[in-house]
Every structure is written in C-alpha cells, then in structure tokens.
Symmetry: none
C-alpha cells in the first residue's frame, strides 16, 4: 500500500521559468474522497463532481490531475498496489499452493477490495485504460504461480509438459469465484482442502 513510486504525472509539471506545483494536500483529499465514493456508490455511480465537492476542492483541480474517471481509478489503484504479497517457499507443491491461496484470500477478504476488483473486471473490456492498469497485476500473480509450478517440476511433483495457463487458472479461479462472485467465506479448512485438490489436479 506504499505510494513510493515515481509519481510521474503529479508533483512535477513545474514550468521552465516560474512556479506553481500541484498541492499534495489537494491530491490526497481527492484520493480519499474518490475511494469513499467508490465504496459507497460503486464504480459507475461514482461522481467526480461529488468527489471534488466532498474533498472541498474545485472540479478543475481534479480534472487537472486526471482526464477522467477511468484514468483516475487506474492511477490511484496503481499507487495503492493491490499487492499480493510475495510468498516464501514451503518445500512442497501443496504447501506452496496453500501459501498462495492464503495470500489471495488476504486481499479478497476486504469487502471494499472485492467490490473494486469486480467492478474492475466488469469495466476492463469496455475501458482500455483500466485494462492496462490491471493486466500487470494479473501478470504478476501469474508469474508467482508459474514459479510455484517450476519448483514443483524441479522437485518432480509435476510433469514438465503441464499447460501453464490452464494450471494457473486452476489455482487462482476457484477461490476468487467463491469469495468475490458467490460472496461466501473461506476458512482455513477450506483453503487447505482446496490446495489439496488443486495439487492433485496439477499432478495429474
């Protein structure tokens, strides 16, 4: 959730000669108001006018920073991270799977995050800007699962011929489905059981 990135649009824009930089307190007020409005009204109910108003800021200040809703969402989300924290090797396929699933669960456990992720998926195809923001995260998750599978191959638990794409889908999808789409809970037992079953599938 850190925001120590290069901040490539904001906090620069200083003119060759003169002065004037965007004020960070304004940016922060807008960010806070944006996520509040998102959580309470949903992505599509989100009104930038309301965001600006409830941040106590003119609309121009908002539009000076981001061209539209999708861009604002993209930018803010990439700052916020949606980071699926990295996971240490557990020494076995099932152990690694369990750890990966717990990491996914950690993120999707928050109702706000769940809503945002669902909105994002629904909006992605229609709004290219969002797609470009989301894909790197999807890629990162995929890398992590790939690494996990590679280790399993090295250990001889999984056949080298396995289809990585399908395998990756098998790992991430069922938990997402249960938590986000069905809106059900997932306790420790469930995660463990799921890990066991996925391990079987991958070993097949």
């Amino acid at each position: 959730m850190e925001r120590n990135r290069s901040d490539d649009k904001i906090d620069r824009a200083r003119s060759p000669s003169g002065a004037a930089v965007m004020r960070t307190d304004v940016t922060e007020a807008l960010t806070r108001a944006f996520f509040n409005d998102w959580a309470s009204a949903g992505y599509s109910g989100l009104s930038l006018e309301r965001v600006a108003r409830s941040a106590g800021v003119g609309k121009a200040a908002l539009y000076r920073r981001w061209p539209d809703k999708a861009a604002m969402a993209s930018d803010l989300l990439s700052r916020v991270g949606l980071t699926i924290t990295d996971v240490e090797e557990q020494g076995s396929l099932e152990g690694d799977l369990k750890a990966a699933l717990f990491a996914i669960r950690r993120v999707l456990r928050h109702r706000q995050v769940r809503r945002i992720v669902m909105d994002l998926h629904a909006e992605m195809e229609r709004t290219p800007a969002l797609g470009q923001t989301i894909r790197p995260f999807q890629r990162a998750r995929r890398e992590r699962i790939n690494a996990l599978i590679n280790r399993a191959i090295e250990r001889g638990e999984v056949a080298p011929s396995i289809d990585r794409e399908t395998a990756a889908d098998l790992v991430a999808a069922p938990l997402y489905w249960r938590l986000a789409v069905l809106g059900r809970r997932s306790d420790r037992t469930h995660v463990e059981q799921l890990a066991r079953m996925i391990a079987s599938a991958l070993r097949a």
Copy 2:
C-alpha cells in the same frame, strides 16, 4: 431455467372490463434495445432514455412496464433464462465434466453475454433486486454439478466424503475465469485438458 411463469405483470394487466393491454411488439423492441445497450455501455452506463429511443418507443411505454433499471434487468434476465442447457450422462466423471464445461463455454462464448454476466456479478451486491434474480441461476448450476458428482460417487470414482461446495467451485470457476475475466479463448483441447485435471482433483 424454464420460463413457464405466470408472467404476472406483463401481457395481462387488462382492466376488469375495457381494454388497453401492453403491446408485445413494444415489449420485445425494448428488450432487444436493453441488452444491446447493456452490452455496449455496461450496466451503469445503461440509459433507459437511450433504450426507449433506440427501440423507437416513448419513454412512458418503458416506465409503464418497469419502474427502474434494476427491475427491468431482473425481469428481462429471468425471462431470457441464461439457460445452461441440461447435459446427458456420459458414463464417466471426466466425460460428464467435459460435457458440463462445453455447456458453460457455449454460453460464455458470446461477448455480449460475457459482459453482462460480469456486470451482473459486480452489481449484485449493490443492487439487491439483481442478486435475487441471479441466485436461482447459480443454484441451478450448482445442482447440475452436484448431480454429476453424485453419479461419480455411485460409480465409485469419487469419495462420498467430498466437499460439494468446493468441488463445484473447482468445476465452474477456472473456465469462467479464463473466458470472462482474462478474456482468453478456450478450444476443444483446453476444455478436455481442464476436464482431466478437474477429474483428478475430485478423485483426490
């Protein structure tokens, strides 16, 4: 699911004596326009004014039938069915799974349907009326997968102690994830491979 309901608002509504019935051609034009607009603008971008206009119909004709967007979506969806067609027994777990996956793929292959399903999932929590419309479909799918697993248990392919919920997630989620969330294709080989892996998982 079947649509042999009593159709209780529309196509009747005739006063005790007298006449004035809603015209079915108008209802159909609105239905078509509604789904077109949904697919192209998303649930929240969906404008009933635009729907009426592009159906060549006055707004009043629309509002006479449905009080608002959510009600219209609910009603139309329950009419349309989102039918995952039933599937014949194939004689083996893997065969049944393959058949079930092909049935899912048949539905999600259409871009319009994919978009609508995603929006639905995103909107469900925010709009209770939609949730109530969708849940029966989810239950029906779950029943079908349950039946499939029961048959496998009877054949001795699967342990009777299996967790039905988790198993069902494992069947439906990966294909949904690939087609809808990732926006990738699924060919015959992929479906067969997926069926094989899921069968392993269930047998574990």
Copy 3:
C-alpha cells in the same frame, strides 16, 4: 344561451341500419367541464385530458365530437352565444348609448366571461378557427352600434359624415378596457358619465 341550432355534427351520426347516437348527457358533461377548466386554467392551460377526466368520460368520447381544442372552443362558444341582448330605442343618442353600455356591462360583469373573452382576443390571431367564430359576434355588436348611430343621424344629433368605424370603437372600447383589461368595476354613475362623454364625441 339556447342550443336550438341545427347541431350539424352532434346528435346525428346515427348509423343507417342499427343504433348508437352520441349521448347528450356526455356532451353536456364535457361542455360544463370545458368551461370550468377554461376559466380556471386559461385557454392555453386548458387540458382536454383533464376535461374528459373531470367529466367522467373517456378521452375518445371527447375527440369523437371535436377534433381539437380550438374547434371545441369555437363550437361551444357559438352554441352559448355571448349574446349581447338587443336593446330598445331610448329616443336620444345618450339614452341609446347608455342602454348599449349597460348591455355590454351585463356580459362583462362575470369574471368567467371576462377571462374567456380576453383569452379569445389573445388567441384569435394565432388560431384562425377561433377568429372565424368570434368575428360574427363582433360584427353583430357593430351592427347594433351602427343602428344606434343611424337613429342619431335621423334625429339630427350626429353629422351624417361621421366615420362609423371610429365611432363604434369609441363606444365599445372604453368600457371593455376598464372592466376586462384593468379589472375595475363600473357602477351606474360611471356608465352614465361615459355615455355622456361618448355622445359629445359623436356629436363633434
């Protein structure tokens, strides 16, 4: 206020063979409702839908009798008459003028009539049908004033060279102006005074 005219649209329409004539009670209810609505909402605020509703009658029953608002107004007005009752000779110009002014006052004293007459004048130019209905009444009034002036000429009270148009304007306008436009009252003394002044003008 009689309605013994030839009634050329209504009360016939009986089919060659069978049955069915327009019901006079419906026509009367519509007529009453029409004038009520006119007085309370003005000509242009007049809603035929409201007229039908408050007459307890279907809209079709109204539109079967009259094609639109202007035609309905025309027809009803010509039935009602707006009759400035004829006036007996008084033996002197001033006496005749007094009698004519009292006749005008008798009509314009009613608030409803005043409103309708004003609306009529305002709408006339925009709605030719109304103009054609009103003009005969204006002509009739003019005839009466002309007769009055002719008698005065025969008596030698007025020069034969007088401009009849201008004279007629001078008789009718001031009282109309005071009662209808300014919304003030006119008592007996006022009428007498006015008659005296107009007589002077005509004698000039």
Copy 4:
C-alpha cells in the same frame, strides 16, 4: 420606462473572490428566443425547453437565471420596458392627444408586441407575478394622460371636475381596441379624427 436599475440578479452574481459570471451573450440569446417563442406560440404554449434549444443554450443556463416562465417573463418585460416614449407638450388638448395616440400606435404597430400585450392582459389575473410587472406600466401611461388633462384644465379647455379615470380610459382604449383586438390598421387620418372626437368628449 428606463432600465437604469441595479440589474440585481444578472451580470453580477460573482462570488466574493473568484469568478464565474453569467454570460451576457447567453442572456441575450435567451431573451431573443423567449420573445420569438412567445409571439409564435403564445404565453401558455411557450416552452422553456424550446427557448433554450433555439437559443443554442443548455437548459441549465436558463434555469440558472430564472426559476420559471412567469419570473422570466416578468424580468424580461421590465428590462425591455414596453416604453411608451414621453411626449412633448403641443400647446392644445387636441395636439397633446394626437401626440399621445401616435406614441401608443408606435408601440402597438408591431405584431409581436401586440400579441404579447394581449397575452399579458389575458394572463395577468391568472399569474400574479405578471400582474405586478404590468401594473407599473399601466400606471405610468395613466400618469402621462393625467398630465395631459391637467394641462388642458390649466388652459381652460377642460372642466376641473372631470373624472380622470374615465377620461383616461377614453383616451387609451379605442386605439388599443382597434389595433390589438380588432387587428385593423390606423393611419394618420384615423388618429387625427380620433383625437378630435376624444377632445370633444373631454370638453363635454
């Protein structure tokens, strides 16, 4: 009347600091469109939506200036003036009357003005806001006629006992009646003749 008012709603409204002022070109376009629509559709047929559209302006721009039709009419009329231009002394009752009648004719000669004035008279009683706007103009006209009569009394042309109200009606009404109600023209000869007859009446 003069329009040197403080213009208290429009053309100011600037916030303590900052900016955002109503644009005068927009106000003017709306004003023009309003009177056009009034002349062609009548007061009650006047649609603010159409006014905004034909001014090439968003509806909000209109509603930001005026809360409703009556307020808009009142405000615009008081700006426009309906000015019956003042008239110099002519040295005789008949001369003054002639000048006053020419001034009235100058205004009522325009078809648009005639229509609006008639609607105004018809609408006044029903719409209090309009009445309050119109009455000052009526009062002003009356003052002017009163001054004219006072001069005639000073000259000894008219008896001091004359009823001012009735006299004033006698001056303004016949020309209004001919031009506006009857829709006839008034040439120089007619005005002169009328002035002569009214002078007789006043001297009586």
